[in-house]
């Protein structure tokens, strides 16, 4: 039991730290400078081939975007920019 308590405390510490860091260091500094197209080219290929924007419709990209944000642990900013780009380039 004590063991689990320790682990829980360590986990909480991590979570708090994560929040702390994410709120101090503004994500905007860096990824904001990158375009959605660049983030798309850099990130999707890490696990599988990069899908082209025309693979899906706008509403479908919304679902895929949220799915990949969760499954691939993408940042909020990456997801928003990439999906915005894919939706603008799929006609």
């Amino acid at each position: 039991m004590k063991n689990y308590l320790n682990i829980l405390i360590v986990s909480l510490f991590f979570a708090v730290m994560a929040f702390g860091i994410s709120s101090c260091v503004s994500e905007k500094q860096l990824t904001e400078a990158k375009s959605g197209a660049q983030l798309w080219a850099e990130n999707c290929v890490r696990c599988h081939n990069t899908p082209s924007p025309t693979s899906y419709s706008d509403p479908q990209w919304d679902v895929v975007g949220l799915h990949m944000r969760v499954r691939a642990n993408l940042t909020d900013n990456e997801t928003k920019k990439i999906i915005e780009f894919l939706k603008s380039a799929n006609n």
Partner: protein
Amino acid sequence: MKKIYLLSVMIFSFVAAVNSQSVTNNDYKTLSDNINSITPKNTSFMVRGYSHFGLNINDEQTSFSYGQFSPIFLWKQGSRFIFETELEFEFEDNQLNIGLEYANASYIVSKALVFRAGAFLLPFGTFIERYHPAWINRLSSKPLGFGHDGIGPSSDLGVAVRGAFQVGKSKLAYDLYVVNGPQLKTGLVEPEEAGMLDFSLNTSDNNKNKAVGGRLGFFPLSSSALEVGVSGYFAKPGSETSPFAGDSILGSLNYQDVSVSMYSIDLSFVKNLGSVGLIDIKGQYNYSSLSDANYYNPEEDNIYTFKNKSSAYYAQISYKPISVNNSIIKNLELVGRYSAYNTPEDALWNSKLRQYSIGLNYWLTWRSVIKLSFDNLKNNVSEASGERNEEEEHGPLLGNAFYIHWAIGF
């Protein structure tokens, strides 16, 4: 008279036509209003999935195999909630098996915090969660020890948090989860498997404690090309009571204090090197250590123990000449992988498996691939060499295997 008759017919038809026109317009408006009112604004549903099949040629047989179909259902509600589930229909040993790969709900709590609950693939390393689907895995086989009966967990029931955020030029991704955890094979059912862990999905745990685990992924380069991850997983896999309870001698064998600690290191480097092509390097090392326990060997009618430590790793490199100006060549891919799996020396399931694999792939679309690959598998434990690898009944055969395999994501 005739003229008047004709005129009135014309006027009547005109009025009728105009009238019917306005009726149609009205109808159209009500219809489109109706459709708009029932068209979901916030709910989207999507069915995707993958399948794969092919020819498997090894030293013993040639068979068409791998009949698998995995539908994936995604349901998004609003901008923060998503439900994902995957079923696995697999024809294996001449029967249809239906499995639940995962079924979970995720909620975006804040920018760097996602809450998940249900059955999900565990981020213990990266292979199981990210690279195992047939249209993602570059080779037909999985690395040794990374399958469903491998050394680490695959999917489990519980709750989790995850998130990713920028730290200066780098990026950090974290995962923490609490799940039911594995169950220790005590040897009661299969004596030769005593001391192994069973990671299959369980809706009721065999004890009161839960397994906890987590992963930290670090992206040192601003391009996200390189990711290094460390994972840990801790559990108590034994049941509260002795499986041999009631037996005057074996009843003393108890596993409630057995604990397992597992660690993993993973690496991924994917870079488009311009005119050279696309290079993809992946690797993972898993280590598992269980505390000592006594097990019963019915064949020799004795009680024995062993240092229960296992490890498995793989390293893979693949190359795609994507910038070549030839539509066939640029869709080709070359892959090489080495993998190893060591199980405890004095266990009845002792093995030292080594495998090297090479493959040539042709990508038909971004999610559809024809893979030609070759595996060579050896067991370095001398007495077992040349025999069938008994430790995994459905596991790979020792020796050579050649695969022609088509994987389609849809």
